[in-house]
């Protein structure tokens, strides 16, 4: 802890005598904590954006304008497969993080590649859902309900797409630069991002699909 203060010119003197809050006991927080905490706050703001889309969906869910309701068009077996992909990918993503912590290439690359493949499978299944809906004349222009549906589920799909790109750059960064602390910080952010997307998917498959079919 004294190292951090010396580095920043806080050593000794009055600063050291000021009683610090319990959570600053170890001195200035490490870069890993600061980076991950900042990313955590970003993710929470992202969750709030999703909450706005969920609220829109909840308000518009009955406005079908004579068109199909969720019960008529949702394909639960495809949704179950998509859910399986994302759940497993959350696990493999965690394994990749452990592999990076252990500096174990086969666990890290294996976990990351599995996560990427599962994410891509999820995206393909979701794209198939969307094209089927549009082919059935149930596209986003059909009713307010379908606009809200495509906006919410599509926003999540866009996030997963970004996540897959993030994942590919993380594989490349570790491959090119090794397990450097700055690369590991980015990897921690990627892990947080991916797990958060999975949590949002839990909300989507429950609120949109299961409640849509059960209503």
């Amino acid at each position: 802890m004294s190292i951090a203060r010396t580095e920043l010119g806080f050593a000794g003197g009055a600063v050291a005598d000021v009683p610090l809050a319990v959570h600053a006991e170890g001195g200035i927080a490490s870069k890993r904590i600061v980076t991950a905490y900042g990313f955590w706050v970003f993710l929470l703001s992202d969750v709030i954006i999703f909450a706005a889309f969920f609220a829109t969906y909840a308000v518009l869910v009955d406005m079908t304008a004579g068109g199909p309701s969720g019960k008529d068009v949702f394909n639960l077996s495809a949704v179950a497969l998509e859910t399986g992909c994302l759940l497993l990918s959350s696990f493999t993503c965690g394994v990749a993080g452990l592999g990076a912590r252990a500096r174990n290439g086969s666990w890290y690359y294996g976990g990351m590649i599995a996560t990427g493949l599962l994410g891509a499978a999820f995206l393909l299944l979701e794209l198939r859902d969307f094209t089927t809906l549009i082919a059935q004349d149930a596209g986003p222009t059909r009713s307010a309900f379908l606009s809200a549906y495509f906006a919410l589920v599509g926003l999540h799909g866009v996030h997963v797409t970004m996540g897959v790109l993030f994942l590919l750059t993380m594989i490349a960064q570790v491959y090119a630069k090794g397990y450097r602390p700055d690369i590991l910080r980015r990897l921690l952010c990627f892990n947080l991002f991916w797990h958060t997307l999975d949590i949002i998917w839990v909300g989507i498959f429950t609120v949109v699909y299961l409640l849509g079919v059960a209503r």
């Binding site: 802890m1 319990v22 959570h23 600053a24 006991e25 170890g26 001195g27 927080a29 490490s30 890993r32 904590i33 980076t35 991950a36 905490y37 990313f39 955590w40 929470l44 969750v47 709030i48 909450a51 706005a52 969920f54 609220a55 829109t56 909840a58 308000v59 639960l76 179950a80 859910t83 399986g84 759940l87 959350s90 696990f91 965690g94 394994v95 993080g97 452990l98 592999g99 912590r101 252990a102 174990n104 666990w107 602390p181 910080r185 921690l188 892990n191 947080l192 797990h195 999975d198 949590i199 839990v202 909300g203 498959f205 429950t206 609120v207 299961l210 409640l211 079919v213 059960a214 209503r215």
Partner: protein, 133 residues
Amino acid sequence: MSDTKTGVPVYDGDIAPGDERADGTEVAEGIRGYLIGLGLSVVATVVAFFLAGTSLVWQPSIPAALIVLAIAQMGVHVVFFLHITTRPDSVNNVMALTFGIFVVFVLIVGSVWIMTHLNQNMIPMERMMQMQR
């Protein structure tokens, strides 16, 4: 202040969201938590999909049961995958999360509440059309 090999802090201060208290650098030592999380979350998902399609359960209870299961599963993900726990070293992360949940709650419940009341107080569409003629 941090283990230079793992980058994971070892002192007894705060902890980054997503990090676990470092108890080793072997994959096997961390994988247990992820396996428990995956198991619990698969159970919650399977039960939820079963409930949505079954006629064995009293139907009006299903939406509430599905929402409870979803919240439980989100909790499992937060604890076992994001490693946000109630340990004192995670208190900053928990406080940010709490504020996030508060805003999400206000946004969703507030929107639904206000819009249902507006719907009730609106002139029905047919009468509106008659008035415009």
